[in-house]
């Protein structure tokens, strides 16, 4: 019986329970839900406990895009239920797989429906044509659902048009395990009423009635009052009956265990340069001079959770692979928006995106990876974007704007027509500071001014063309910004890679020793030995293939690590960097 009930769809709330920015506490068969509507209209039904310490998410905060736990401020994204930020560790991107359990949601007949293990569809009720319906107030009853259904078969009510009358004839049109369809007639007036019974627990139910006619004003109030009175009376009767029988044992909810990786403290490793997702180009448009915007929608299911600063690999029809930052704001999880600048000397990446890819095309993309995480414990955050370097910073600025954290976005571009994603920029309001048409010298002068007042607790994020990024990093260092407060992302590694050295690499955890000859990378040699290494750009810019150095001196050739990290010598990008010592020991 319980198994059968779990596979059915049940109403768990009325549509009008999901008020703007509210989190509704739903219940079904002993299980609790946090039910909330995001500003984009999507209804989220989640297990009602934060994966961290079990605090109910129904006491959390719905900010329209994300749900924030009251206890430690963990943020979970609209639609995917993936965790996007853990404030206790502001410098780390949370492991992508910290995802709440979700349940399906369908809105129908003025009610929100869900199911634990749905088989089939939401019941199709002939009497309730879509459109003008009236959902009654839910009536909670301390009695098992089957007892409530039995009583409802004898429920009598007046049709809407004769609500003040007496003596209407009510007949049962259909009755099922969790619903009774009634028809009431009084002279020429008639109303169909369907009464669904939501099994809250073994001994608790909610009657959710829906009438086939709408009403307004005083008439509506009279109808609601009529049913409220009669259903309350029915409740008293069925509760008296239920109280005389021994109460059935409450249903114990079974909480799924978190994955073994998440239960351990070490970071989760991501694998390979894989394109696990298929998306279609829902929209392609020119968002600025020379910059095309792409909206990528999933072919089926929903997209994985992303964090501001994350990028995806796009596998192109011509076989090239390129990295593009996700520009979405928090909670915008129905599609990924990327911006692609047409490079003059394109080797086939941006040219293919601009000239070959069209709306409706299917592309393979990787899961989002975040090697450029955004701290949100800064007293003030400065973003410095040059040209197409706006894309990751735009996602970050929208996240801070949503949380009302102090920030400025300095956007350097050749002219007004080169500013991309105008709609998103507009959302940022006064935080956006465009700097247009400046020469390299004038840019330097402007940056000196912007970066003049470093205070402890501030953070700087830079993304843009190599020369500008170098200049901004140098100016920041000159003006007292410590390495730990300056975060940057290069588009590409323009260093000339010297791969003439040969050396030995010992992989401590895998217990193998490999020879890296001149002309091959550490990554290539590891892959040839069957060791799966995550990677993305494979040119030392994105940080995906980072490994921990236990022993030996790395020969850094990447542009991902900052000076302090290079000096420390504890991290290495295995796709380009090599060894100065004869031997390296890596924690792989």
């Amino acid at each position: 019986m319980l198994e059968e009930a779990r596979s059915r769809w049940h109403p768990i709330a009325a549509t009008h329970d999901l008020q703007f920015r509210h989190v509704f506490h739903g219940q079904l068969l002993g299980r609790e839900f946090a039910v909330w509507r995001a500003d984009d209209g999507y209804v989220n039904i989640w297990e009602n406990r934060c994966l961290h310490r079990g605090v109910r998410l129904s006491i959390g905060i719905n900010d329209g895009r994300e749900l924030k736990c009251q206890y430690h401020g963990w943020r979970y994204s609209n639609r995917t239920a993936g965790c996007t930020y853990i404030p206790a560790h502001p410098a780390d991107a949370p492991a992508r797989t910290i995802t709440n359990r979700t349940f399906p949601a369908i809105e129908r007949y003025g009610l929100v429906w869900s199911s634990e293990e749905p088989r089939g569809e939401v019941p199709d009720v002939a009497a309730l044509a879509e459109g003008k319906l009236l959902a009654l107030r839910g009536i909670p009853v301390n009695a098992p659902a089957d007892k409530v259904v039995e009583r409802l078969k004898a429920y009598r009510f007046q049709p809407n048009a004769a609500i003040g009358g007496e003596g209407a004839e009510t007949i049962v049109e259909a009755a099922q395990d969790f619903a009774v369809a009634l028809h009431s007639r009084d002279g020429g007036a008639e109303t169909h009423g369907v009464f669904f019974v939501q099994p809250v627990d073994s001994n608790r139910s909610v009657i959710r009635g829906v009438l086939d006619q709408e009403a307004e004003g005083a008439a509506r109030l009279a109808i609601l009052r009529h049913h409220n009175e009669r259903l309350s009376k029915l409740r008293d009767e069925v509760e008296r009956e239920a109280a005389s029988a021994p109460a059935p044992t409450p249903i114990e909810p079974v909480y799924e265990r978190v994955s073994a990786e998440l239960a351990e403290m070490p970071e989760v490793t991501t694998h390979g340069r894989k394109a696990a997702l298929r998306v279609s180009v829902a929209r392609k448009w020119q968002t600025a001079d020379g910059i095309a915007g792409f909206e990528l929608r999933p072919i089926k299911g929903i997209l994985p959770t992303f964090q501001p600063g994350a990028h995806i690999d796009v596998h192109m029809p011509n076989g090239e692979i390129r990295q593009y930052s996700i520009t979405n704001g928090p909670g915008e999880t129905d599609s990924f928006i990327i911006g692609v600048k047409l490079e003059r000397d394109s080797k086939g990446g941006s040219k293919c995106m601009h000239e070959t890819v069209r709306e409706g095309d299917v592309l393979a993309i990787s899961e989002p990876r975040n090697n450029f995480p955004l701290r949100r414990d800064s007293i003030k955050t400065l973003f410095v974007a040059g040209g197409i370097g706006i894309t990751p910073l735009l996602a970050m600025a929208q996240a801070l704007k949503n949380q009302e954290l102090t920030h400025e976005l300095h956007y350097f571009a050749q002219g007004e027509e080169h500013l991309a994603f105008a709609d998103r920029l507009k959302y940022l309001g006064d935080a956006l500071k465009p700097h247009l048409g400046l020469s390299p010298d004038a840019t330097g002068a402007e940056l000196r001014q912007i970066l003049a007042d470093y205070r402890n607790g501030m953070h700087l994020y830079i993304c843009g063309p190599g020369p500008m990024l170098e200049a901004a990093r140098k100016i920041a260092a000159d003006q007292g910004w410590p390495d730990t407060a300056v975060h940057f992302e290069y588009f590409k590694n323009t260093n000339k890679i010297d791969d003439s050295s040969s050396f030995e690499v010992a992989l401590a955890r895998s217990c193998v020793t490999l020879q890296v000859p001149a002309g091959k990378t550490i990554m290539q040699v590891m892959r040839e030995s069957g060791i799966d290494v995550p990677s993305s750009c494979e040119q030392g810019a994105c940080g995906t293939c980072v490994a921990t150095v236990i022993e030996g001196e790395p020969d850094h050739q990447d542009v991902y690590l900052n000076d302090a990290e290079r000096k420390a010598g504890t991290k290495i990008m295995t796709c380009v960097s090599r060894a100065k010592s004869a031997r390296l020991v890596l924690d792989i």
Binding site: G54, G73, V258, G457
Partner: protein, 296 residues
């Protein structure tokens, strides 16, 4: 709910009330581990604890069979339903003559004792739950700290804990990192040492002693042992009561109420090192009361 069958918990000392709030000659009734108990101070001021029975109305004629072990320590009456150790865990600072010693409050909370201990050990919630008092956004980082399980003292010790606190001292108007040391010397008791705003060299001591009413309900007794010569008792108490009042609704919304010891029941982060150590320590002791043990 079945009564407590956990031998480790039965043999511990448990707090059941503050001495300062005992009325001379008056009998107080309470519940410990689902057993109804009564206690009173006798003519010598010594606590007497017994299993409640309608025919015993005072401490003087309690039948020996119903009498329970009793002691008065750190300002509370402690008892046990089993064979308790000779001594209670030490708090040496309690003996320092210049400290103010108060029962800040006794609060009923609908949660298991171990969930309440974890909350006491946790710094990450300060900016969210104790906003503008113990923490404030955006200063949310829990910096690396050290945790050890001391084998000889059989207690958990978390040191080098620091957290940003707004208005950290009366001397400055800005916020600063405050140092904390946490001890868990008893499965249901924890002691916190916190930088003193009046004496840089010493620390205030705040302890929470949980009285398990049953597996999912506690009475939390809060001991203060602080350096403060200026404020009235009620001011010092009110501050702690505010803090505790902020924690209570969070604790009562934790699901499940008993602490799950399966490492895969919840998702730990580095900031939770002390909680992870605490869960392991409870598992190693074989504790089953107030927790959901790891499935065999």
């Amino acid at each position: 709910m079945t009564k407590c069958l956990d031998p480790v918990i039965l043999n511990l000392w448990h707090p059941i009330g503050a001495i300062a709030e005992a009325v001379p000659g008056g009998v107080q009734d309470t519940v410990l581990l689902e057993e109804r108990l009564s206690f009173a101070l006798n003519a010598d001021g010594e606590p007497v604890v017994w299993r409640s029975r309608p025919d015993v109305q005072g401490p003087d004629r309690v039948p020996a069979a119903d009498r329970l072990p009793a002691r008065s320590t750190y300002g509370y009456v402690w008892t046990s339903l089993g064979s308790p150790p000779a001594e209670l865990f030490p708090i040496p600072e309690y003996e320092e003559p210049d400290r103010r010693k108060l029962n800040a409050a006794t609060f009923g909370v609908n949660v298991s004792a171990p969930r309440a201990i974890e909350n006491f050990l946790d710094m990450g919630h300060f900016p969210y739950v104790h906003t503008d008092i113990l923490g404030v956004e955006p200063h949310t980082e829990v910096k690396e700290y050290d945790v050890e399980i001391s084998v000889d003292r059989d207690e958990i010790l978390a040191t080098r804990c620091r957290f940003f606190q707004p208005m950290a001292s009366t001397a400055s108007d800005g916020g600063a990192d405050v140092d904390y040391v946490y001890r868990v010397p008893h499965p249901y008791c924890s002691v916190l040492y916190k930088s003193s705003p009046v004496d840089e060299a010493r620390r205030d001591v705040i302890a929470v002693f949980l009285q398990p009413v049953d597996q999912e309900h506690v009475r939390a007794h809060m001991l203060l042992c602080v350096l403060d010569e200026d404020n009235e008792d009620k001011v010092i108490k009110r501050f702690q009561q505010t803090i505790f009042g902020q924690d209570k609704p969070i604790l009562e919304n934790q699901v499940p109420k008993r602490l799950p010891l399966d490492p895969r029941a919840e998702t730990p982060i580095r900031a939770d090192k002390s909680a992870i150590a605490y869960r392991r320590w409870l598992s190693q002791k074989g504790i089953t009361y107030g927790v959901i043990p790891v499935a065999a």
